[in-house]
Symmetry: C2
Subunit: 317 residues, 2 copies
């Protein structure tokens, strides 16, 4: 069997054991394991990296635990606006959407744009019109209703009336995003990222997730990357492509490049977050400079692991 | 007097002498000269690169000759949607907007977001709400009416009903964007880009112009860049940041890096267009792989020039 690898994340930030109940932790671990397993099954059955990352991200979009798809946070108008991006390392085609509503799986829309249009990036109503024409699943507003997220929004919605979003999530430095990267048995890599943005967000703010080269990037020659963190800092540092350039132009390994970008360059400007990365040899890197990052990985040799806090992952076989 | 430099562009593409009347050519040259002069005056008077690029781009936004601001093309709904980005190489802060309407000078909104918000990228109605709160100039729809652009749209609007925008401009491979980059006497560099998009564009398509690291980038350590071209290819190649990385990680000069990105890497995937670039030493590079690019430059030693077609610029003193 040829090598394959997959890594997923469900967001980074101030994720502390002290704030977690064992039930909640078990729920996150179980969801990560299921998402990982879906991607892993695709790869085991000689499916493509494209299908593996899409399946893993779709599951996390459907799971209310993560801030993406169904679990998206409330924006300032009490609605749910989502962003997503998809990139194929083989040929480096890409698709992305921002500020979309009522789409069940934004990641599948991003992939559809990549595959069925000449465009890379569609936003708002226009992106939704494209989704309708291509038969994507639409859901009603109440699909996204979640009592916990709603209360979270109620507590802060008035305080931020005249300022840009100082959301509870932001104060907590918890960045809700999901993503997946994979290498398939054909030697191709792919990346996918999806997010529900920031609680109480205003002004049509778009973060790094849907920006090709920033929150999402894939190139068979270097790496596939999905980021999670303080989007504005990630954008200014062009994070995902920076990892790729450090590998291509400076000859760094995936691990060294990803470490430099997250622990040196991003930290230097005050940016918090992390990323997951895979290269064409199947190496995986999952650095983050926050207290935790929901993450999991699996390799074709049977090794796998799930991590939440800032301690080494217990590797299983 | 300390060194300064400025370069501007008004779009790249199939710009042929055979399609140009001498009146039209003179109008373009005159507009480029005025825009250049506005930026140059700021720099001569020890103003900042930020002010220089903003003034030059504002002039081109106000001039109906260029596809940005007032001269923006018609989208599929017969309206005008604009994108813009601004980046400060000193501290690498940035601001960008996409899918905005009725804003007289999108570049000034991008700068306002950079300076007055924690965010980098705002889109659609939310971006316009931010503009209203910060006192940006709004204009009515008829401000953007231009008989030539309107006829251009009328000729193609029905043909593209069920497909993504194969606009006349795209067939022509003419990419309407304006931009400016500058080095000021304090050693700081800045970049600004503004566009009205593609004729008859649909689906909320956003191109490379407002994407930090793709159509616009500035970093005092490397270069300031503004691009114009086939946005989708520029996005997949993360063009602006790629020039910066080739300089920072591979040690290339500005000229060599810009050449490699436009003439080798972009051409290889079939992408057409160009860019203008300045580095912290005041060097300027203006490569393009199309038949022409509206462009001009000026240096503190008095040299300046204006070019349209694919032949060397006649340098004046």
């Amino acid at each position: 069997m040829k090598k394959f690898s997959i890594a997923i994340h469900g967001g980074a930030g101030t994720i502390l054991k002290s704030n977690m109940t064992s039930e909640k932790e078990a729920a996150y671990r179980s969801a990560l394991k299921t998402a990982l397993g879906l991607g892993q099954d695709v790869l085991k059955n000689e499916g493509t990296a494209l299908d593996a990352v899409e399946q893993a991200v779709r599951y996390m979009e459907d799971c209310p635990l993560f801030n993406a798809g169904r679990g998206s946070v409330y924006n300032a108008l009490g609605g749910h606006e989502m962003d997503a991006a998809f990139m194929d390392g083989n040929g480096m085609n890409a698709g992305a959407v921002a500020a979309i509503r009522n789409i069940k799986n934004p990641i599948s829309l991003a992939r559809k744009i990549m595959e069925q249009s000449e465009h890379v990036f569609l936003v708002g109503d226009g992106a939704m019109e494209f989704a309708r024409m291509h038969g994507l699943d639409f859901v009603e507003d109440d699909y996204f209703h979640n009592e916990h997220r709603y209360q979270q929004w109620q507590r802060i919605k008035d305080s931020a009336r005249f300022q840009l979003d100082h959301s509870e999530e932001q104060k907590d430095k918890k960045f809700g995003t999901v993503g997946a990267v994979a290498l398939d048995s054909y030697g191709n890599i792919a990346a996918a990222t999806s997010t529900g943005g920031m609680t109480n967000k205003k002004f049509g703010r778009v973060g790094d997730s849907p920006i090709i080269g920033v929150g999402t990037y894939a190139n068979n020659e270097t790496c596939a990357i999905s980021c999670t963190g303080s989007g504005e800092y990630f954008m200014r540092n062009v994070v995902a492509y920076d990892v790729s350039c450090l590998m291509e132009y400076k000859g760094l390994s995936l691990e060294a490049a990803a470490h430099e970008v997250i622990h040196d360059k991003l930290k230097k400007i005050g940016g918090g977050g992390g990323l997951i990365a895979v290269d064409a040899l199947g190496n995986i890197s999952m650095p983050f400079n926050t207290k935790g990052m929901y993450r999991a990985f699996a390799l074709s040799d049977g090794q796998w692991g799930i991590g939440i806090y800032n301690d080494p992952i217990n590797i299983m076989q």
